[in-house]
Symmetry: C2
DNA sequence: CCGCATCCTAAAGGATACTG
DNA sequence: CAGTATCCTTTAGGATGCGG
């Protein structure tokens, strides 16, 4: 009789389960969003990313990039030339995070400094 | 002569500086977004939050809430009764993060599991 | 140029017991 | 109930040097 007793364990009310926690867990650390952001629009080389993300260490950058690659958000293309050349770009799945980054940016523009 | 030489240090092209980095720094850790999310819609008591954010330790919860309060995102109201009662709610500034959380949720629903 | 290996630090967060 | 206090574990991330 519709007595589903307010399972307040669920934060999101709605038909589908809330994915916020899962999503944050999926890509939620300091650099991840920034890397995705840096790749919005055009592909970039390792060195460029290192430059754009001022101060990120190569170790961390590699780590994050590999992680994002595994998850199908970033595509890595290797050019077998000397000196080595590798380009990173977003997959469609990655591009779709733009909405969210825009929202974040909009909020920041309105409320920060 | 319009020779502003592609200051590719800036990731965001646009009139205003990009606020993504600043915003993430402002509220970027694991629990912050989840707490804000939990407060969307209605005010909640400490215990409720602890329950909704399964497994968060009281220390961490207090820490995060105080931090969000300082930043004007969360409002804390104390009822001088026994036993103690404290309610947390979002300020308008906090509510405006809904757009971003929705985008995050939408992405998750589409791409996760 | 790309990026791995190694070592190291800082900071977030967890567990638990206790107080007003 | 709403925290505070204490201690401890984990992990993100930095620095740097070497290798393909």
């Amino acid at each position: 009789m519709n007595d589903k007793p307010s399972k307040s364990k669920e934060i999101c009310s709605g038909d589908k389960p809330c994915k916020i926690e899962a999503t944050l867990k999926f890509l939620g650390n300091k650099w991840t969003f920034l890397i995705i952001h840096a790749l919005m629009g055009d592909r970039k080389r390792f060195k460029e990313l290192q430059y754009l993300l001022k101060g990120i260490s190569p170790k961390t950058l590699t780590e994050r990039l590999r992680n994002l690659e595994e998850k199908g958000i970033v595509h890595r293309e290797i050019f077998p030339v000397i000196p080595p050349k590798v380009e990173y770009s977003l997959t469609p799945k990655g591009e779709e995070l733009k909405t969210m980054l825009d929202a974040l940016n909009a909020w920041g523009k309105k409320h920060l400094d």
